[in-house]
């Protein structure tokens, strides 16, 4: 009787110890049961699905499956095969017409004069600007600043050594949309290409948002006509700026 109870005691404590060592921590993923249910044999993005009972050769073989791959040149994203009529003669869609050279940069700046994304009504413009703002704040604001003044947090903290472009400066105000689009596609100076981060439409949404910020800064209204490229904000904006200056001066006096 005594001996049996001692044996019972030992087995139970052994079981407790066994399961106590299952929990994941630090470098240990924890234990699992029936790994075939949990691990994908098929290729999964960003995941090394190799596990102990995998039948797919060595770990090195397996890791070849999980490397990032570049799509074939000219690949069109899923759901992007149909081209809207408004984009038929667009220089930026489905393929960007310019290469990453200084010559093409000036060409793009001259030839792409208006935003390819033309909102149909005020509600759509509001949507575009809202989405553009979200994207701008994710992808641009760390350097170019939330206000577009080239004073983003990274530069302000002194972490980033190069001064980012100030979209509120005269040269950016008067420049064509092509300059922005080309810079997003291929980068400029130390800025690298952000084409992989933003799709065609998203790039234009961001440019819409930058333009609206410029308009707001100079006191102009980013109207539907302006966003469709039917009315330029440039000369008006400059006049408005001068008026503002005069007002300020008067106030100062």
């Amino acid at each position: 009787m005594k001996r049996r109870s001692i044996i019972n005691l030992l087995t139970i404590s052994a079981l407790v110890l066994l399961f106590a060592a299952c929990q994941s921590k630090d470098n240990f993923t924890g234990r699992e049961y029936m790994p075939d249910m949990a691990h994908s044999i098929a290729y999964e993005a960003n995941q090394n699905t190799y596990y102990m009972f995998n039948h797919w050769g060595t770990k090195d073989d397996y890791q070849k499956f999980v490397q990032p791959r570049t799509p074939q040149d000219g690949t069109v994203a899923y759901g992007r095969t149909k081209i809207a009529d408004s984009l038929k003669n667009d220089l930026t869609y489905p393929r960007y017409a310019f290469a990453n050279t200084d010559e093409d940069r000036t060409k793009a700046t001259e030839m792409i004069t208006s935003n390819a994304l033309k909102p149909k009504n005020a509600a759509e413009l509001e949507n575009v600007l809202g989405h553009g703002k979200e994207l701008y704040e994710i992808y641009c604001s760390s350097c170019h600043g939330k206000a577009g003044d080239g004073n983003g947090k990274l530069y302000e903290l002194g972490v980033y050594p190069a001064a980012p472009a100030n979209f509120m400066s005269d040269q950016f105000l008067s420049s064509n949309d092509g300059r922005y689009y080309h810079a997003i596609m291929y980068g400029k100076n130390v800025m690298l290409a952000h084409a992989d981060k933003l799709s065609h439409d998203e790039r234009w949404k961001v440019i819409h948002y930058i333009r609206s910020m410029q308009a707001a800064k100079s006191g102009a209204d980013y109207s539907l006509e302006a966003s469709r490229g039917e009315k330029s904000i440039k000369p008006e904006a400059k006049k408005e700026e001068k008026k503002d200056d005069k007002k300020d001066e008067k106030k100062g006096k």
Partner: protein, 472 residues
């Protein structure tokens, strides 16, 4: 002879005083403004580091061989100097042009001679003294140190005290039991009864009643932990693996305030949040070549993986062998760490040895949040449509040096959230767009409008608990 040396000294003194006077007469602050507006996009402010353009420190010495006017012309319009062979500096200019990937510097025809004098003065001051107008104020060491000392983490003092208390109590009860026992025996002796033989500790411990109680307690405790751990099989909460590069989310997302989605750009548009490829790292690290914690060591690994040559600012061709790349990296490490004496020759070779196996290969990041193959999860659905913050599931990643899995990612955890979370219809283009409207949403909309429904709509009510949404 003496006269000649005297003359030399005199002229030297004259030149020195004159240059001093000139330096005082000019305004380096104006130069600073000009630099910020025109030059800072391509030239680094410390004047010692190359970026898009060369390091500007010592530019006047380098151009001292040529007439001053040529330097001014070069700054105003570099392509003019390159095209015109009558400039004495033409060959030097051409070599510079070739070194910087045949890119022309932007022309600044509006800068006057005075502007340029101010600018060059500013450059010189920054190069030699580290500030626009010397004497420079050195940052207060004491305050800097004070800011750095971190508050020590409060350990689990509380639980330690509890354990100590429990230990003392158990000890006290055992002692008390023994006292009572011996007092009892004394009483029995006085009464004239023969005292019961005192039992040894082993005898007490192996007493069937004690063993039964112990087994019962073990079954309870053991059963509880066994079931708990069995449920936890295959779950990875608290998993915090070391990564091949010591990337700190605390620095990037916390201190520098980079949006999560800047790097994890798939979260808003695909199933995967995406572990970024090295090109995303390079967006910043072509310019930022030193980290605040590990200096060049960790950033070197990105360069090795992406094939970037920080000396020239270009990428190696694929055919360049490992040894050649390592030689370049060694040169760069020496150059970049020249001002840090702590980084010795051996430290550099250690850094190189860690980077060597990573050359030309994708970084083997360890994925932390793994879902089993039979569960479907889509990031875009939660981030873009559901407007769920990253931190809701991943914890405060912006405070983590090493990422740790915050949530259990168990089914119960998913379901619980789906039951409690209210659908965010407001300012949500997914639900407002006409194509996605559905009778169900319309019904809820009317209910909310008529005041019948006050608590909003939970995810459960729009089908968040249907099995085949996640298992199919």
């Amino acid at each position: 002879m003496i006269f000649r040396t005297f003359l030399r000294c005199l002229t030297l003194a004259l030149i020195l005083t004159m240059s001093f006077n000139r330096a005082n007469a000019q305004d380096p602050k104006k130069g600073e403004a000009i630099f910020k507006d025109n030059c800072a996009s391509c030239h680094v402010k410390d004047m010692k580091t190359k970026m898009t353009g060369p390091a500007l420190g010592g530019v006047e010495e380098r151009w001292s061989k040529f007439p001053k006017k040529e330097l001014y012309d070069w700054i105003r319009n570099s392509s003019g100097v390159l095209a015109d062979a009558s400039y004495k500096s033409n060959p030097y200019a051409k070599s510079l042009y070739a070194e910087y990937k045949n890119t022309n510097m932007t022309a600044f025809p509006n800068l006057t001679d005075e502007d340029l004098v101010n600018l060059l003065l500013y450059i010189n001051n920054m190069y030699k003294d580290g500030c626009a107008a010397p004497p420079c104020k050195t940052p207060d060491v004491a305050t800097a140190k004070g800011a750095k000392t971190e508050t020590k983490e409060a350990g689990d003092n509380g639980s330690m005290i509890l354990w100590a208390l429990a230990f003392v109590l158990v000890l006290a009860s055992i002692l008390l039991a023994r006292y009572i026992n011996s007092l009892n025996r004394l009483a029995q002796q006085r009464a004239g009864e023969s005292p019961v033989e005192e039992k040894s500790f082993l005898q007490i411990a192996l007493n069937p009643t004690v063993v039964r109680i112990l087994i019962f307690a073990l079954v309870i405790v053991g059963g509880y932990t066994t079931v708990n751990n069995a449920i936890g099989l295959g779950r990875q909460q608290n998993y915090a693996p070391e990564q091949p590069i010591k990337f700190s989310h605390e620095v990037h997302a916390g201190k520098n305030g980079i949006d999560c989605q800047y790097c994890h750009d798939g979260a808003r548009r695909s199933k995967h949040a995406v572990i970024p490829a090295t090109n995303t790292c390079m967006n910043c690290h072509t310019a930022i070549k030193k980290g605040p914690e590990y200096g060049t060591a960790e950033i070197l690994k990105i360069y090795a993986a992406s094939g970037f040559n920080p000396l020239s600012g270009t990428y190696f061709k694929e055919s360049v062998p490992t040894d050649e790349r390592l030689a370049e990296y060694k040169k760069w490490l020496k150059e970049a760490n020249a001002d840090n004496k702590a980084i010795t020759e051996s430290e550099i070779s250690v850094q190189l040895s860690f980077a060597k196996p990573m050359i030309g290969k994708p970084v083997n990041w360890v994925k932390i949040h793994n879902l089993p193959d039979h569960a479907y999860f889509n990031h875009a659905q939660h981030v873009t449509v559901g407007k769920v913050a990253c931190q809701d599931c991943h914890g405060k990643v912006e405070e983590m040096k090493l990422v740790k899995q915050h949530a259990p990612l168990s089914m119960g955890w998913c379901i619980n959230c789906h039951r409690q979370t209210k659908v965010k219809f407001d300012e949500n283009s997914y639900y407002s767009s006409e194509t996605k409207s559905h009778k169900m949403y319309e019904q809820y909309h009317n209910e909310v409008k008529s005041g019948k429904r006050t608590n909003g709509v939970t995810v459960e009510e729009i089908g968040g608990l249907e099995c085949q949404k996640c298992h199919y």
